[in-house]
């Protein structure tokens, strides 16, 4: 630090988009863990967040899955909420008008089962005041392909991204599924199809068996695993993807404190999302903003951008020697 000013935490998550997605700091509340923002208004200073991502919105209203929907797991949890939401029309009536009066950028997470539905929702959000960007959830079954998850396939993920890109100039984030066989291939495909940024990882599909009743515990049978249990997988995938793409990467998966957050930045994330931790430690995102700034200052960095990816020496896809060396070295 030469001029004595505090380290710069701001970040633009859509540098190749004229509409920009400029955040005052790189800490974002993750989709599904923060409702529509108002739920936490009485608990934390929501406006201080870098941004937040809404619950997943679908073309039609959904009442969600039967109960039980959540179950705790070792250092984590499984959830199968089933995208309970008011649908795009009910959503647009209620939330963007509220967000328009807020200073914090609101990003809308969208989910659909056909490419046409993704595009139709994005088109309606395009000129909607109060909406700062779109995050595409590609971890949905593609009805036209027999329910195979969009996000597991580079081509299908790119098709969704392109269809949405064609109908909106809003900053566009694609949220990758860790269930993809080759997450780097999916990242490269959505980047080429017009994504402004890539966020990862979504939850991993898991199951808990209720031994007493001898059946899966969740009514939905499977659920998404989140929390500190998945963090090493998330860090590895962020590391791989950040080495392969030029667009900003937003890292998430089990961040519970400053050290976890720093791992993601060092691996190549330009920003982070906080999900499950908000449930158990709602003050964490705001605390992290201050702790990040203090850490950067202490370590002599002028901006958050200076630490992005500095642990990342490249991770070539299919390079088993690199993988083995990396695994041996640290994990």
């Amino acid at each position: 630090m030469t001029d004595g000013s505090p380290p710069d935490l701001s970040v633009d998550l859509a540098p190749r988009n004229p509409r920009e997605l400029r955040l005052a700091n790189p800490v974002i509340a993750a989709s599904g863990c923060f409702g529509y923002g108002e739920e936490y208004a009485g608990v934390i200073d929501v406006q201080r967040l870098g941004a937040f991502v809404s619950k997943g919105i679908t073309p039609e209203r959904r009442s969600g899955n039967a109960m039980p929907r959540i179950i705790e797991t070792p250092a984590g949890m499984l959830n199968a909420i089933g995208l309970q939401n008011p649908g795009i029309s009910g959503f647009i009536r209620k939330y963007p008008p509220m967000w328009e009066r807020w200073t914090v950028p609101a990003i809308v997470n969208i989910s659909a089962e056909t490419i046409e539905d993704y595009a139709a929702m994005a088109a309606r959000l395009d000129e909607q005041p109060g909406v700062a960007g779109i995050e595409i959830n590609v971890s949905c079954p593609n009805i036209a392909r027999g329910g195979y998850c969009f996000g597991w396939d580079p081509g299908m993920s790119a098709d969704v991204t392109r269809a949405v890109r064609d109908v909106t100039t809003l900053p566009l984030i694609v949220k990758l599924s860790p269930g993809a066989t080759d997450i780097v291939a999916v990242a490269e495909a959505v980047e080429a199809a017009g994504a402004d940024a890539i966020s990862l990882i979504n939850t991993l599909v898991g199951m808990v068996i209720d031994v007493q009743h001898r059946r899966p515990l969740l009514a939905n049978l499977t659920g998404g695993l989140s929390g500190p249990a998945i963090k090493p997988i998330a860090v590895r995938m962020v590391y791989q993807v950040a080495a392969a793409v030029k667009v900003p990467v937003i890292g998430m998966g089990g961040i519970m404190g400053l050290r976890d957050a720093l791992e993601f930045f060092l691996a190549g994330a330009s920003a982070i999302q906080i999900g499950t931790a908000i449930f158990v430690d709602p003050g964490l995102p705001i605390r992290l903003i201050d702790e990040l700034q203090a850490w950067l200052e202490h370590e002599g960095f002028a901006s958050i951008g200076q630490i992005v990816g500095i642990a990342n020496e490249g991770f070539r896809r299919g390079d088993s020697a690199a993988l083995t060396a990396w695994e041996t070295a640290g994990a």
Partner: protein, 269 residues
């Protein structure tokens, strides 16, 4: 750094354990300090999400919901009834006086008395007794007549009637018949349904199905009304995750903000 500490707001705070007292066999009453504004404004039926691990640990990850058994205004403290039957509650039951625990709350809605209510019937199942003790105190303070039916597995699991105000009529039911009626708490409600202006219940979900079966044939025009507190596993406690929903006549609603107290006639059990 204005907010570098543990607590992000007044609804998220750390309390200190001021007392631990045994109650109801293997359970404990945990007295935890809390800001006066929270203690004074707390309504019977509201709950707190309590962190049941050391802050640096990740397991068990989720907070646990506990409704308040009673408040101690003089000591500015909340009293929780803790039965160590799971990993979270067992951790909490292992604390000692002076330890600190993380609380988020108060959360949820509360039991409510109708303006003309004079006679109230409480129906408690096991540790579900907690919020009804506080509600009972309030009813007595308002000059109401209270009948308090409690069910437990055996005699050791019952609340000592001395925990309630002297004017409260206490009726016991045990699964094994070791004290009071042999059977479930709802079995004992029939005699009191015509008498009561309102019924308040808190216990496991099967108890509510039994309660409905017992009281419905005796009610006229859905009177007396029945308020129940629904316990669901939950994550956020703030209506964000939708993990704790209850199916009602108006759809799936988050029990942590629209509940935990519901009208029995509104809930699909």
């Amino acid at each position: 750094m204005e907010m570098g500490h543990e607590s992000g707001s007044s609804r998220e705070f750390e309390g200190q354990i001021l007392a631990i007292d045994p109650i109801m066999g293997d359970s404990l009453l945990l007295t935890v300090s809390a800001p006066p504004a929270i203690v004074q404004r707390l309504r019977p039926g509201q709950f707190f999400n309590i962190r049941c691990r050391f802050p640096s640990a990740y397991d068990p990850l989720l907070r646990r919901p506990f409704s308040v058994y009673r408040v101690d205004v003089e000591r500015s403290a909340l009293i929780f009834l803790v039965r160590p039957y799971g990993r979270g509650s067992a951790w909490l039951a292992d604390r000692v006086v002076g330890d600190r625990v993380g609380l988020l709350g108060p959360l949820g809605n509360a039991f409510t008395f109708s303006p003309r209510t004079q006679r109230v019937l409480m129906v408690a199942g096991g540790v579900g007794v907690a919020p009804l003790v506080m509600l009972s105190d309030e009813a007595v303070a308002k000059g109401m007549d209270v009948v308090f039916i409690m069910g437990a597995a055996d005699e050791s699991g019952l609340l000592a009637s001395s925990e309630l105000a002297g004017s409260v009529e206490f009726v016991a039911a045990t699964d094994d018949g070791s004290r009071g009626h042999r059977g479930l708490a709802p079995d004992m409600t029939a005699d009191y349904v015509p008498w009561a202006d309102q019924i308040f219940a808190c216990g496991p979900e099967p108890m509510y199905r039994t309660l409905r079966a017992v009281v419905d044939p005796l009610r006229v025009n859905r009177k007396p009304p029945v308020q129940i507190s629904v316990e669901r596993g939950m994550a956020c406690g703030l209506g964000a995750c939708l993990g704790c929903v209850v199916e009602t006549r108006h759809g799936m609603v988050a029990s942590c903000v629209k509940g935990p107290v519901f009208d029995l006639d509104e809930v699909i059990l």
